[in-house]
Amino acid sequence: MIACPECEAKVDLPDAPRLNEILECGDCHAELEILSLEPTLVGLAPEVEEDWGE
């Protein structure tokens, strides 16, 4: 369980959280990124430019 950095609502963590995993806040729908594990910390997932050709 962790608090959404945008709206402070409780956010459920998956059973096996992964580093850099993207979650969605159930309340405000902000996209969050798991920035570390043990302790589990999240931040707002950044907006990035999509370059669809690699």
Partner: protein, 269 residues
């Protein structure tokens, strides 16, 4: 006035390697200047398997999968391309008395790239922010180095990796390297050899080679199936940058480049 032909090949199977190198020798015999750009996906996959490095994929939001070059895989890419694919090509050229010099983007900043920014993708079924994908897009080519080597009568043999802005190596797409090189040296033509007869109207029908494919400057290319998408993007980049002629042709036959230049290819416009 230069008349440079840039040839992009796979670099893996020894039969193809010998056929491409024999054709390069023929072209040079006629006075042409040639630059060879190569990948080596089969060498990469085989070496990754031998070293126990998993081949991972990132799936972009549009559903297109691409290689996930994590740091372990970047080491394998460099090892395979510089340590296996390139020596195989160089030995084949040496056997045909073609003086060639092997290069990657790390040689005198030959290929500089912008590191791909963090992006959303699905990896191993989980939606993540991908931050350690060691890939980039070419931003500059050291054309002066290539000119020096060509003037000395040498064939440059070029592959990834490239040098990112922080000075560390990154993986780049070899077809797009070929396009960037062709543009930078003002090549007369770019010939991309592939494991198919050309761009196919119907991927399941090897006789459905399109003699010409027309690309629009802005939209995703049609005929993207069968791995052609990135080759068509690369072709467009070359054409946009002024390379007059860009062909996609079958690399699995004798004299593959000569045959392509004689017309047995898909011309991209």
């Amino acid at each position: 006035m230069t008349d440079i032909t840039v040839v992009k090949c796979g670099g893996n199977a020894s039969v193809e390697v010998d056929e491409v190198c024999a054709d390069v020798a023929t072209l040079r015999g006629r006075g042409a200047e040639v630059i060879l750009v190569h990948g080596g996906s089969a060498d990469i996959e085989r070496l990754a398997a031998r070293l126990g490095v998993p081949s991972r994929q990132v799936v972009a939001p549009d559903g297109v999968p691409a290689r996930y070059t994590d740091p372990a895989m970047l080491e394998v890419v460099t090892l395979a391309l510089a340590g296996m694919s390139k020596p195989r090509l160089l030995a084949s050229l040496a056997a045909r008395e073609v003086p060639a010099v092997g290069l990657t983007g790390l040689d005198a900043g030959l290929l500089r790239a912008r590191r791909k920014a963090a992006h959303r993708a699905v990896v191993d079924g989980v939606r993540v922010m991908v931050r350690d994908n060691q890939v980039g897009t070419i931003t500059a080519v050291n054309a002066g180095l290539l000119r020096t080597l060509l003037d000395a009568g040498l064939v440059p043999v070029i592959s990834p990796p490239a040098l990112a802005e922080d000075g560390r190596p990154v993986n780049v797409n070899a077809d797009r390297v070929a396009a960037a090189v062709a543009a930078a040296v003002g090549a007369a033509r770019l010939v991309m050899l592939t494991g198919a007869p050309g761009v196919l109207a119907d991927v399941a029908d090897p006789d459905s080679v399109l003699p010409v494919v027309e690309l629009s400057p802005n939209e995703p290319p049609a005929h993207r199936a069968g791995g052609m998408g990135l080759k068509l993007i690369a072709a467009r980049e070359a054409l946009t940058a002024g390379v007059p002629e860009t062909l996609i042709a079958d690399g699995r036959r004798p004299r593959p480049v000569t045959a392509a230049l004689d017309g047995a290819a898909t011309t991209v416009v």
